[in-house]
């Protein structure tokens, strides 16, 4: 393996020698992965890769070059390519290297893969599904161990060395009976431990139950406006959509509907969303942001009030708004005080949404799509599995029409999220 530290130092020296500012990211990565497809083991792969990315600032011009070659000669070439790229670029006073964030040496997670135990857990998951859930068709299981050594250094003096490794498993299943197959149901989880069966991770058991029930899915007739209960995975997707609407290019070009909402109420006051870099339920705690600042936990929505824009340093400098303190990983949503059952009991007519297959939400928050892995709620009870059912609403409006937040949460290693129920959603069938 290449000496990452030496290579990073070499790149920084070379950038300085060319009278530029800049940064280098060097990493060495390894992956072990078991694949099951169609209920059978199909592939075991072990991958080794390296990467170097060099960013250069020259007279407020910025260039970037990335390669996966890590010899000294390749590092020199990468710096040259980044400088050439910067020289070709446009001057822009937003292009400024982050100041020195300090020196870090961080080790997290499980660096070495326990191949035999990982294989055991995958095999156990496959065999448990086959034995205990004969109506489940395993479409795919992918179990991985990923590990990386990672260095980030800048000409301003930041020098961060990180080592991290973790396991992850993704599950794709469907209900299957005779010629009948249900819609696919997905889930995934990250973990640092192989001590418990994969089936007990995240919401895997709920997903298995959903896939079986979806065998009897049927469409509803007509349309109605009702309550939508989002399962944790889909809630995360909806909240990330809102984070996107309150961030990135839409702040830079001033098209965001939240442009004048910083520090103002944008959601029900019971909604609290935090991006955490130190919560123990999250398996990886980033040390630095992508821009090279020390990563910090930050509220995104606090008591319904928009606390930050999800913008980087460049957009911050261009617009005058404060940059986000992290890269929006590790979403933590504060749970409520009612159980999911209690919330459902209060719903006259609505839908429990397990998954969502939809068009990209419009910049104004409008969304529409198919409610997948979903169930009809009638008179306080979940009554039947649904197919060919569409939901339509607006994310920005939706978070102001909150009915309730569950006290149950799902932890999948990357987030901690409850169920949330929203009124005023158009639900339509055939």
């Amino acid at each position: 393996m290449a000496d990452l530290k030496k290579l990073a130092e070499r790149a920084i020296e070379l950038i300085k020698k060319n009278s530029c500012d800049g940064f280098v990211r060097v990493s060495s990565n390894k992956k072990s992965e078991f694949n099951i497809e169609g209920g059978e083991f199909t592939l075991y792969r072990t991958l080794f890769d390296e990467n170097v990315g060099v960013g250069v600032y020259k007279d407020t011009k910025k260039g970037y070059y990335q390669t996966n070659k890590l010899t000294e000669e390749d590092i020199d070439k990468a710096v040259d390519a980044a400088i050439t790229s910067a020289e070709s670029s446009q001057p822009d006073d937003g292009n400024v290297l982050a100041p020195c964030a300090g020196t870090f040496n961080d080790v997290q997670g499980v660096y070495e893969c326990d191949q035999d135990k990982l294989f055991f857990r995958v095999k156990e998951l496959k065999e448990t599904l086959e034995k205990d859930f004969p109506l489940i068709q395993i479409v795919a299981i992918i179990a991985q161990h990923n590990a990386a050594d990672y260095i980030y250094a800048t000409t301003a003096g930041t020098f961060s060395t990180e080592r991290f490794g973790s396991y992850s498993v993704t599950l794709e299943i469907a209900g299957h009976e005779g010629d009948k197959t249900s819609s696919m149901v997905y889930s995934g989880a990250g973990t640092l431990s192989l001590d418990k069966p994969f089936l007990d991770l995240a919401d895997f058991r709920f997903r298995v139950d959903t896939a079986i029930k979806q065998l009897h899915a049927e469409p509803i007739e007509g349309k109605f406006t009702g309550t939508m209960v989002l399962t944790p995975g889909i809630l995360g997707m909806a909240l990330y959509s809102i984070s996107g609407m309150a961030g990135g290019g839409s702040i830079l070009d001033k098209s965001s509907i939240y442009l004048d909402k910083l520090g103002k109420k944008i959601a029900d006051e019971r909604i609290n969303v935090t991006f955490s870099v130190d919560d123990e339920r999250i398996i990886h705690h980033p040390v630095l942001t992508g821009d090279g600042y020390k990563a910090e936990t930050q509220d995104f929505i606090k008591d319904g009030v928009l606390n930050r824009f999800s913008i980087n340093d460049y957009i911050s400098r261009k617009t005058g708004f404060e940059r986000a303190k992290n890269d929006s990983d590790g979403m933590i949503v504060r749970p409520g005080d009612k159980s999911l059952d209690e919330i459902i009991q209060g719903i006259e007519k609505g839908i429990l949404v397990g998954d969502f297959s939809g068009g990209q939400p419009a910049p104004n928050g409008e969304f529409s799509g198919i409610a997948k892995a979903s169930f009809l709620i009638e008179n306080g009870k979940v009554t039947k599995a649904l197919s060919e059912t569409m939901i339509n609403g607006n994310f920005a409006d939706m978070v102001n029409n909150l009915r309730g937040i569950s006290k149950e949460t799902i932890e999948d290693g990357w987030s901690s999220l409850p169920y949330m129920a929203f009124d005023g959603i158009v639900i339509s069938g055939k």
């Binding site: 070059y65 390669t67 070659k69 060919e388």
Partner: protein
Amino acid sequence: MLQDNLKDKKSLFETGVSTELRAQENRQRYVTFLQGNMVNNGRSETSGISARVCKNGIYGLSSAAEITDEMAEKVIKAATNNALFMSGHIDKKAIVIPTLKGGYSPVRRDIIDTEQKRIIDKCKEIDDYIAKTYPDLKSRAVSYTEDSMDKVIYTSDACDGHVTYPRCYIYVDMTAETPDGKPVELFHPFGGLGKFDDHFDLEEMKPEIEKLYQAVMKKREGIYAEAGVKTVVLGGMMTGMLSHEAVGHTTEADLVRNGSVAGPCLNKRVASDLVTMVDFAHTALGETAPLPVYMDDEGVEAKDAVLIENGILKGYMHNRESAAFFGTEPTGNARGWAFSDEPLIRMRNTAILPGTSKFEDMIASIDDGYYLVNSTNGQADLTGEFMFGVAEGYEIKNGKIGRALLDTTVMGVAFEMLKTVDMVSDELVWVSSGFCGKKQRMPVGMGGPALRCKITIGGR
């Protein structure tokens, strides 16, 4: 471009197993101007070597980032060990994969690099033109993206070859504001197969840029679609999305084996007899397909896969293993995105073929419906239930195209919806700028004529 110097490594292949050795480079170039600010300016090259070994129906794969003799030996050995590890732990009923006739597929198209400055200057030229010509836009973006692949492939029991997939695009994105201050957005991709110099003459682009502007200004006055089952005309781009998402995925043989709805439907009616659909390998209707594939990553000479013929489901897309399972010939659909990725069954250029109707007659035939032009994204699952996001659409009233629609979504069940197709236009539209996202990304082409059919549309 990669040097083709792996041939002598075939002597390292173990006997009694099937081996593929692949050296690959993925090259990306990207530049983005957002409202005149250059927010992206980068280049990347990722290359390496991988070996995949099949023993008793189970594959072992290993890869490394260096393309050297030493690494070729290492990955072959590691992949063989991985296959042995699995076959030692798993008792799988192996399918015998027939040996294929050998041969060599040569490079058909070089990957030519372009200086970053020329790319930046071109994007700036286009951005300046839009800023000057259309000052009433709320926002604009011009993005260049190039994602070329270069692969050298050697196999133990199929063809060898050197294949390339160069493509580059410039996306023009326009945002306008509705009267109540909400943003609406549309984009158009320019470019396609080949190198930077093959595309992007601003004078030639101007008519499409003007069309895009007119469309986004109409959309700012747009209305919500009315939810429910409607008679619609799908534009060629939407038909392409239908071909890829709703039908294509269900006819990938690996998903058929996983219980897709296409499994029990072989040789049965799944569409009206106006519908014929093909996954073209490299040549479609006498012309080079948008993203031609001559040999896949398993060393299979690529050939067209006829999926639906006059409404009858006729076949699937295969890799070598699935073809052996179904007792048919492989079609050359196995491709991997990165050097470390295993080849999966992927579509190439999937299209419903044109019919005989005139587009104007199709619109004129509808009293109350929608004309759906452009999609943002799409998804489908094993049941054939699909959805597409609709970014550009219009109402049809009394045989005429009317007001624009705000963003919406359509859905249906492919083999039910295709039976409602009762008019097919005589023009074929190809789209090739997107990626398919089945485990790995993959550039794909898709296309079709306009279709008149019934579909469920989401809305208020």
